[in-house]
């Protein structure tokens, strides 16, 4: 909830402007990085091959990156509010791994061809996996803020093991890696459009931002304010699962974004969702873009998948955040 004072508005505006200023030039530059030669000059000269490369590959790739980054950042932000633990995000609650299992089941056992069907099945699995994790959580006697995500990561490991076993049996390990290893190199026009769904989900999250914040303060606080706590939490889980499923199906898992980005943003700006959600969205997009560009540049003309870069950067930041919590708490 904005309190409407001039100073506060200004603060919010400044961070947004800063985030946009960072993102726009980086996004523009990313259009001209890749194995195929493409420069702004080619486009101005009316080079039709260059235009084709831009429209069929580079632009879809950029849009996919921005959409996925935005959505995963926001999904993590919402999830840490509704679970009231800043380390519970899609990568640390079994959500992503369950979505991968869902895509695998849809492909191997249901023979699904359309991405839409795969996504819906993945969404269902993501939701069930997350609910199972929350169920385990309620039975955990030692629910330390750091232990909770570790349990989630272990649960994710178990689910991945199950998926891998069946994928091995079905000779589908190759397809499996497409969903577990997020990678934008295969994004072409016509193969990423499902991600626009996540934009709708992000808008939904923004509309519900105040309710998610209220739920994040606590159950009693929410009930007192007339907010239907259980409904808000369930809706949040549904939105998070939808985002995770859409991203896994189209580009594959990009680990830790949902954890790292919202944690860093809220560390600086606080937890009022209405205020931090737009910044989180932009920073999420910038983070994925940066990881992707690094992956494209490091051993040019070959590529390192975004999943690897995000995993390395993300896990380091995750450890630093955990150490920080330990220091503050201790």
């Amino acid at each position: 909830m904005s309190t409407g004072t001039g100073r506060r508005r200004e603060v919010r505006g400044r961070h947004l402007v800063l985030a946009v200023l960072l993102l726009v030039p980086a996004a523009f530059a990313s259009l001209f990085v890749g194995a195929g030669e493409l420069s702004p000059l080619d486009l101005l000269n009316g080079d039709s091959d260059a235009a084709l490369l831009l429209v069929e590959s580079r632009l879809p790739r950029l849009l996919a990156i921005l959409l996925a980054g935005t959505a995963m950042g926001v999904a993590g932000l919402v999830m840490m509010h509704i679970t009231r633990n800043r380390f519970v995000t899609p990568s640390t609650a079994g959500t992503t791994e369950s979505a991968v299992l869902g895509v695998f089941v849809a492909t191997a056992f249901l023979g699904a061809e359309s991405v839409m069907v795969k996504m819906v099945v993945a969404l269902g699995f993501a939701l069930i996996g997350t609910l199972f994790f929350l169920w385990v959580l309620r039975r955990l006697t030692f629910a330390d803020v750091v232990v909770v995500p570790l349990v989630g990561i272990m649960l994710g490991g178990v689910i991945t093991a199950v998926t891998t076993f069946f994928a091995y049996r079905a000779d589908l390990l190759q397809s499996l890696s497409a969903w577990t290893n997020g990678d934008f190199s295969s994004v072409l026009r016509g193969r990423y459009e499902l991600l626009w769904l996540t934009a709708a989900v992000t808008v939904g999250c923004y509309l519900y931002a105040n309710r998610f914040t209220v739920a994040g303060v606590g159950r009693d606080f929410a009930v007192n304010l007339g907010v239907h706590y259980d409904r808000v939490v369930n809706l949040g889980l549904l939105l998070v699962s939808a985002t995770t499923a859409a991203v896994v199906v189209t580009v594959g898992n990009i680990p830790f974004i949902g954890l790292v980005v919202p944690n860093l943003v809220t560390l600086v700006l606080g937890d009022n969702l209405r205020r931090v959600l737009p910044v989180t969205a932009l920073v999420g997009a910038a983070f994925v873009l940066a990881c992707d560009v690094v992956g494209r540049v490091v051993r040019h003309p070959y590529e390192i998948p975004v999943e690897t870069v995000a995993g390395v950067v993300g896990s380091i930041v995750f450890i630093l955040l955990v150490l920080r919590v330990r220091r503050v708490a201790g």
Partner: protein
């Protein structure tokens, strides 16, 4: 009017509330007193629909708290529990502003903003208004939570141990504020109070509870007797008239 009819609540094998019935008339300050485990907080939470009753029924102005939509009830009744631990990073102003949520649904108009500023000023929170809750002392945080509840501007206000963590000055201020609110705006304030002398000096009516039942209910002066207090608290308590108030003495 708050009407509690045959409310029972059990945790495991312990009966915390045993067939409790009572009526709290509108207007004025009512304090619920009693020893630990008497069922005070549970009763308050059930009236405030934070907990479901196992059986029985609670109505506020005829609205059944268990079935009335939360958003409707939130404009009439506000409740604050004793422990308000939250790890969320909100500023004091943001938290207090959420008190307006039932009215504003998140879009604050001039009235809402005025109410927020007023509540912050009254509880002397201006200095910390833009500070995060986790950077405050327990007492400051408690004042912020009560300020949010008062900002909600409901006819009924239920507070569990509002003096928790407060120093003497802020405790007196809190009670004065609640009393003035009840008198000037005809609000009904129901408190769970640990300190019997705060209850005695600032409430119109007292409800005494013991072992999940109501022992007595009535005007404060009538209930502040050594006999009743001894029964309720299992402790010898002398009662003196000091400055027009009945003060219980039990320290030695």
């Amino acid at each position: 009017m708050i009407e509690v009819r045959n409310v029972t609540k059990t945790y495991g094998s312990t009966k915390v509330l045993d067939d409790v019935s009572l009526t709290i008339a509108p207007g004025g300050v009512t304090s619920i007193i009693g020893a630990n485990g008497a069922g005070k907080s549970t009763l308050l939470s059930i009236i405030g629909r934070l907990l479901p009753a196992d059986s029985g029924r609670v109505t506020v102005d005829g609205l059944d708290v268990a079935t009335t939509p939360g958003a409707t009830l939130a404009k009439r009744l506000a409740v604050l529990r004793q422990e308000n631990h939250t790890s969320i990073r909100l500023s004091v102003r943001e938290l207090v502003a959420f008190g307006r949520f039932p009215h504003s649904r998140g879009r604050l108009n001039a009235t809402d903003l005025a109410a927020v500023d007023e509540a912050i000023a009254y509880f002397e929170l201006e200095e910390f208004a833009d500070r995060q809750l986790d950077q405050l002392s327990g007492g400051q945080r408690q004042r912020a939570h009560v300020a949010a509840v008062l900002c909600q501007d409901t006819d009924y206000v239920l507070l569990d141990e509002p003096l928790n963590n407060l120093d003497m000055r802020h405790s007196v201020q809190m009670m004065r504020r609640l009393r003035r609110m009840a008198r000037d705006f005809a609000k009904t304030v129901v408190l769970v109070v640990h300190d019997i002398n705060f209850a005695s000096c600032h409430s119109d009516e007292v409800i005494a509870m013991r072992d999940g039942g109501v022992v007595a209910q009535g005007p404060t002066a009538e209930l502040m007797t050594p006999e009743l207090l001894s029964t309720v608290f299992d402790l010898d308590i002398a009662v003196h008239d000091i400055g027009g108030n009945r003060i219980g003495v039990y320290y030695s």
